[in-house]
Symmetry: D2
Subunit: 344 residues, 4 copies
């Protein structure tokens, strides 16, 4: 049997969610997100972020959340600034442009944005002849596994407020970010420092589901019409409500993020112990070790993962991803097999 480190959506969902689906199954509910589970889940999330003014909407997936937020909050001639590595730029099939909006990309070695990088895009503005930059998109953790510190987040928030920019955080991998050993950001901080963010369920032990949290009161109006219009409002919204209720009851969300990170750290230590290096340090559930092509080929016989980028003719960085369901045994076997492959 091959162990799978390809991504964090290879398995189903945490058993608590399955149990809740079973126990609630025959209870008749209102449709379109008006059910009791959605209501309870939203109340619970609002309590966790401690921001009574926020509104929360539950949707199916990350690309859907991104395009809904961007299309709902921007006027047609407004653009969004993002890192060159941003998911909306590299892996969403032009979803943002399909809603009519330009993405202005910033080079970034670590997948993060800073005021300096954003300022360079603002400097390109020419009245009438360019779009008006109006939103900043960041992801936390980023597409290459890095996270924002609270100071970085505050600096971005201040810069955005000064420059009339909406700060939007893609939290598809927020569970992993907030439970990183290096993290000092809380859910409450996100409610204070971003205008809108979302809490990823799909990559944190749910079957589907992202919870969009709009903190800025001026941006909340009629969001659900955009959801319905773009096919994002589920008839059986209960499916989303039940999952987020389980994830935030007893802080399962954080427990699962923590597990994924712990598994990643264990692999990371095992790799370091072998004297091998990484493309970037391991903060969250994504690791980018640098391995020889021979070792990669050997490992791929028993494990599923991506080659990320070629370093030179003989060596590449690979991507390994752990998740809520990664078993410690798989991690141990991987390290042992790597040891053999490298030693051999």
């Amino acid at each position: 049997m091959k162990y799978n480190f390809k991504n964090d959506y290879t398995t189903g969902c945490h058993p608590n969610i399955l149990e809740a689906l079973v126990s609630s199954n025959l209870v008749a509910q209102e449709g379109y997100g008006e059910d009791q589970y959605c209501n309870e889940a939203i109340d619970l999330i609002k309590a966790k972020i401690d921001h009574g003014d926020s509104v929360v909407h539950l949707v199916s997936g990350g690309t859907q959340a991104n395009l809904l937020v961007i299309a709902a909050l921007l006027r047609p001639y407004e653009s969004v600034i993002a890192a060159e590595t941003a998911h909306i730029q590299v892996h969403e099939t032009g979803a943002i442009e399909a809603t009519g909006h330009r993405i202005q990309t910033v080079k970034s070695a670590d997948g993060k944005l800073s005021p300096d990088g954003i300022q360079k895009q603002l400097d390109l503005f020419e009245e009438v002849h360019t779009t008006i930059p109006r939103m900043v998109y960041i992801s936390n953790s980023t597409e290459i596994g890095t996270i924002y510190s609270c100071d970085e987040l505050k600096a971005l928030s201040l810069f955005c407020r000064v420059n009339d920019l909406i700060l939007f955080m893609d939290g598809a991998r927020l569970a992993s970010a907030l439970t990183s050993a290096a993290n000092d950001v809380t859910l409450k901080d996100l409610a204070i420092y971003t205008d809108v963010f979302y809490i990823g369920g799909t990559k944190a032990g749910a079957l589907i589901g992202e919870a969009i949290v709009i903190n800025n009161k001026t941006l909340q109006k009629n969001f659900i019409y955009n959801m319905k219009q773009r096919g994002a409002l589920l008839a059986k919204g209960r499916l989303l409500g039940i999952q987020f209720l389980e994830l935030f009851k007893d802080d399962l969300f954080f427990e699962l993020g923590n597990h994924a990170n712990r598994m990643a750290q264990k692999i990371s230590s095992g790799i370091s112990d072998l004297g091998l290096s990484f493309l970037t340090p391991t903060y969250t559930n994504q690791l980018f070790p640098i391995l020889s092509n021979v070792v990669i080929a050997k490992l791929m016989e028993d494990y599923v993962f991506f080659t990320w980028i070629k370093i030179d003719e003989e060596v590449s960085a690979v991507r390994l991803v752990t998740s809520w369901s990664t078993e410690e045994q798989a991690v141990d076997e991987f390290i042992a097999d790597l040891k053999i492959a490298v030693g051999g």
Copy 2:
């Protein structure tokens, strides 16, 4: 406890689906619909429709299926013809127009389209100055519970082919249509006579899910890019695959449709036996009995359902909907309570 006849998505899903979710939960799979369950479900559906050339895509819901199909198959200046009562016209928050396309509506007493009605819209065409009608949207069963006969379907199909129109059937309630006592259409007929149709899971015992079947080979190319671009491609596509696999394994889909229809017929007979009449005959899982406002008020104390339209100051038609999970006991109690309310 109130019994709920408001719609056919008040409960969760058939227990078989829950069991399959549980048993498959920890099996690692490819993402984005490349998993074994999607593959098996699609193969099974293709076998059922007996049309090797069709391609099948699984998506989350009806509005999403409608906008994906229409946006993918029409050029910007092409329009879709639909009945005035069509779901895309009355209950999708302008989803079709939001993709850039006009809906041309046809008056229809029974919710169905005929060549005559379509021809009237074709007659409005003026070169350059109007959109080019290019698609016909029908739903089966319709929004008011009627169904197409095979002869009607054949006539529409022929008319569409002659007039270079794509025939698209919204099958959100296809389970109920195909198991109606009045029905003579098969899944195989749909593959032959429509260019594209979809098989509704959400209203037939699934949590979410519609299976889009594109029969016309010239319309199949790159459909999945449209799905991804509009946020309709689930990372854990397995959630859709598992459900359709269960629905079509052992023909559960038809069994559930049949159950809903049987419950509707039982209510219908009970109402007729009381000498009451209907807005339209009961063919599927939607009933439209005409009741006095006093009776309606009395019933609403114990049952949840919609008032459909006011007939006069004292009498209205209501809508009752049964589903895969409607219990016979609820039906029996409803008839008994109606008898008391009417008799009283």
Copy 3:
């Protein structure tokens, strides 16, 4: 030689405009509407409407003006209410839907909207599941030659303000409307009672050009970005400025509208004198006399015009349109020829 009564854009422009193009030709100017002619024309229009808060933008044509206004002022899930005969509904190739917005149409015998008709569309609203009606589109004169009285305009304005609807008047044929003998509306009234309207140049003696006037201050922001983004901002904006400057200097605009109306009235009287009737009374520069097919065929040998609708097997209504350049001699000959055709 055939005289042409087909429409009001068969010839070029008023000679004053040509002279101004010639005399200004080699004066170097800023591009994109920043030239002195645009500035002067806009100042002149604002003086004529006596509404200092209005902003004015010059664009090329009517469909362009319509789609720019509607797309700029509506959010994606908002719709516009219009008469079934509205230009945006019948002759703009789905231009409004192409910007993502639904048109909700109201039946109207005279091409006009009233609060009652609009209310019927408002009644269709269902929270989340339908678009939100947010704009009312009227045209003055209408597509069938009728005009709004000041009382009708006030009633619409009040109704729109009460119902949070933007009132938008398409003034492609405003010259003819405001100079109709039956008219009691002024340019100043339009600035008070509409949120936005435009002054049609193309059908009033210009080569191209419509002046969009946005009276409601909350709707003015960044309109020019929408113009640029949709290809409506001319590099040599002077072409538009020069024309509107000529049209409003010495009230040429009204003089030309009046001429067209006078020619229409003369034809109308001639037709009435022959005992013939009309589909609708003649208020502006469009006439809809009812003629026998034999007479129509005879006239079409020497004149160009449209058959509008078939009344019965033997009789049809035709449309005759006069313009700023219609010569009285053509009118006289037409009446004489009609007399012969009818008498023969």
Copy 4:
């Protein structure tokens, strides 16, 4: 009086065009591009390019032409590749994204694209998760005054055909490109080697107008519906027809391009004679000399032009643009004044 070297649309149009507008003014014509002048102009253009299969459409401006072509020819999930300096990327207010399409940009020192640069964008393609690159946009002359050689054009054409890419040339400054001393490309070559290109009138002595030429027969269908739908079909299309008829009768178009280039070369020589250098060589009607800030400030007292980019604290490159209407006297005075400014 200040001479204006800011751009090539500061003045009106060539006198021949004004004369033709005057002489044709009262001739009644069909609307919407069906007039005799459009027909004749299109026939003339087709004769000049010697490509009977091409279709020609006349529109108002460059941004409009670009968005029409790109939106008409791409499917929603397809993208266009362009140089980082491309007009569609830097000066069209997100017009392309507003039609739903992504621009993939290529770094380019000289504003031109080569197969190598395009290939790098093709390499980013990932099935389903990225847009499909389907068009290559080039401009000739480019935004920084360079031109394509016939060999370069052939190489691009071959590369595009091999890779199933549509080759689209923006010819807003085609007059200047084709009459450059360095040019070896003909109009006939463009018909052979591009799928679609347009001939810029606005920057070549017309008031407005670009002639879109679609050479590839598979891309021609229904283009005019896109024009109408996006507000680009003028009621008085004659305005465009008359202008292109004059521009191509007696090859005025080339004469005017040649004049602009000659004026540019004269300035260029004058600058070189003073020992000054350029950012890029002068091939067409745009020059980019490098001047000290002191000299720039001095010249700006009497001449209008742009500072293009800052080279260091004391020196910048400026942009000077000549046009069909640039007088030799202005050129001579400029050189004389520059001599004084530099010498002083």
